[in-house]
């Protein structure tokens, strides 16, 4: 299936939940509503025409204009096609729905996005920090992050 067909079938099913799309990029992407990612993901995985059963990657991004986002790279082992989904949120309201129930691999990736960007993943079964210590303050991969002077009495900068 080409990206255009995928976009059309998504539009037909979800309508206004599909915010925007860029199909002429080398890896075409579709922007979806951050509070409806789960049902869209279920549809993409279970629809026999798409069958995106393999999530390659899930990355949090700080776009440095007050916008945060999560990028889903999907792949189908059955049809061997790819698509990129994106969901954006603001720094003030960083909420994106979890897709862990669709692809189990998203669990740790989403925890990492929370850890690094502070994106709150709604409906995530176990939303804790994953890489940094549980008592760490701040979300280091945000572009405006300031490195703390001390952590637990240990000096952090060189």
């Amino acid at each position: 299936m080409t990206a255009e067909e995928i976009l059309n079938s998504l539009k037909a099913k979800f309508g206004d939940a599909i915010v925007e799309a860029k199909l002429d990029a080398p890896q075409p992407w579709i922007v979806v509503n951050p509070s409806r990612t789960k049902e869209i993901a279920f549809f993409l995985r279970d629809d026999p025409a798409t069958r995106f059963d393999y999530m390659m990657c899930l990355s949090g991004v700080d776009y440095n204009n007050g916008k945060l986002g999560i990028v889903y790279h999907l792949f189908s082992m059955v049809h061997r096609h790819k698509i990129v989904l994106k969901a954006f949120c603001t720094k003030e309201q960083p909420h994106i729905q979890s897709v862990t129930s669709v692809w189990a691999t998203a669990n740790w990736h989403e925890r990492e996005a929370f850890d690094m960007y502070g994106i709150v993943i709604d409906e995530h079964p176990d939303l804790r920090r994953i890489l940094l210590p549980y008592d760490w303050e701040g979300h280091p991969l945000r572009k405006d992050y300031q490195v703390p002077e001390f952590y637990n009495g240990m000096k952090v900068p060189y």
């Binding site: 995985r45 279970d46 990355s59 991004v61 700080d62 189990a104 920090r129 890489l131």
Partner: protein
């Protein structure tokens, strides 16, 4: 809908409350044990919080991040794209070349440049040599997990020979910085081809010796067969890759199915687990897939060396790399599986965002699902068969 709860029960005595015939529930005691961060068998600084009932595991909670070295932050703060390569080396320190390969591939796809043939062939040779070296560490330390120390030393002895080849080429033993964007840091030395061929002829019988020592050892087979079974659907749902996925019987190899470099010009077949000693997808299958992949790599190396063309080892690229604004996700098959780099460029000379999709990170996340109901001794083996490198898990 894919059923992820179809995991097989591994022992007759399932953990949980036991009822007598009169309906009374017996009390059983559960215990929490910490394995790691310093433990002989966690392959680095992984910490596993284990809930056990006697020796049987009820739950495993991995705690990672003890080696979080801020790779993604560094990638954003370097002065140019090339400076990220040494940090990629340090992600998966057992297979540094494969990490570089993935990153330079992502940037090259972004720049849309064509590489000289010679570069691609040398890259294939190096990547496959590195794959053998990495698998040797994996199976060697796996031997230690199973209680056999000697195979580890046999494996490391052979690995040294590969490191000699690398050292001859770029001067480093472990972290190379050899693949550069648009080519290689420099050409291979003249005697390299002969030495590499010698290594191939030397190493083939050694694989057999290793198999006799460990893989087909009766005790080892008893320990690993039917343990830690990872069914196909679970493997896909957790997006496992590499020997993990192939061990579960899925015929999937990025070198063949999402071709990069010159793998499509060479003759070879991916190895998959067939459940020869037990169930498809058990620990032994993952081990044998690694052993057989080493043989496949040898044949790839021999073919690539035979077809090695003459030519330049650097494509004509601008001194200052400034890809157009955009994004790319490129993936390669590393010894641990699919290593992808998601690179976003904003048109400046430094990457805007680099996300490493680390195979060890993803493969490790399946560990709790496949080790419930096992024994502590099995957990050690399952963790060993996942073949994690903490540098990649924690980045």
């Amino acid at each position: 809908m894919i059923e992820t709860k179809s995991l097989p029960t591994q022992y007759a005595s399932q953990p949980g409350p036991v009822q007598t015939s009169s309906g009374k529930t017996l009390r059983t005691d559960e215990m929490i044990i910490n394995m790691g961060p310093q433990h002989p068998s966690t392959h680095g600084v992984l910490r596993l919080e284990i809930v056990v009932e006697g020796e049987i595991i009820i739950d495993v909670i991995p705690h990672i991040g003890y080696l979080h070295r801020c790779f993604e932050k560094h990638a954003e703060h370097m002065t140019n794209y090339q400076q990220v390569i040494p940090y990629c080396d340090r992600l998966d320190y057992c297979a540094a070349i494969n990490d570089e390969h993935s990153y330079v591939l992502a940037v090259e796809r972004m720049l849309k440049i064509e590489l000289p043939e010679r570069v691609e062939y040398i890259r294939v040779v190096m990547a496959e040599l590195q794959r053998i070296a990495s698998h040797l560490i994996a199976v060697g330390t796996f031997g230690i997990d199973a209680g056999a120390f000697t195979p580890f030393l046999y494996a490391f002895h052979d690995r040294e020979l590969i490191l000699d080849l690398f050292e001859m080429t770029c001067g480093a033993r472990l972290l190379y910085n050899y693949f550069w964007i648009g080519g290689l840091s420099h050409d291979i030395p003249p005697q390299f081809v002969d030495k590499a061929k010698q290594f191939c002829t030397y190493f083939r019988p050694r694989i057999k010796e290793f198999n006799d020592l460990l893989t087909y050892n009766e005790i080892f087979v008893k320990r690993t067969a039917n343990v830690g079974v990872l069914p196909k659907d679970v493997a896909l749902n957790y997006a496992c890759s590499g020997p993990m996925l192939r061990g579960s019987g899925i015929n999937w190899d990025l070198r063949r199915d999402d071709p990069y470099s010159v793998y499509h010009k060479l003759q070879w077949e991916p190895q998959i687990g067939k459940g020869e000693m037990g169930t498809v997808g058990d620990v032994w299958d993952r081990h044998i897939v690694r052993m057989r992949e080493m043989e496949v790599s040898l044949s790839i190396i021999e073919q690539a060396l035979a077809a090695l063309p003459e030519g330049n080892v650097q494509a004509a690229i601008p001194k200052r790399i400034r890809p157009d604004a955009g994004e790319v996700y490129a993936r390669t098959e590393t010894p641990r599986g699919e290593l992808g780099f998601y690179v976003i460029s904003d048109g400046s000379g430094t990457p805007f965002r680099v996300k490493a999709r680390a195979p060890a990170f993803v493969n490790l996340s399946v560990l709790p699902a496949i080790s419930r109901g096992c024994m502590i001794a099995d957990l050690v083996l399952i963790a060993g068969s996942v073949d994690i490198v903490l540098g990649q898990v924690d980045r």
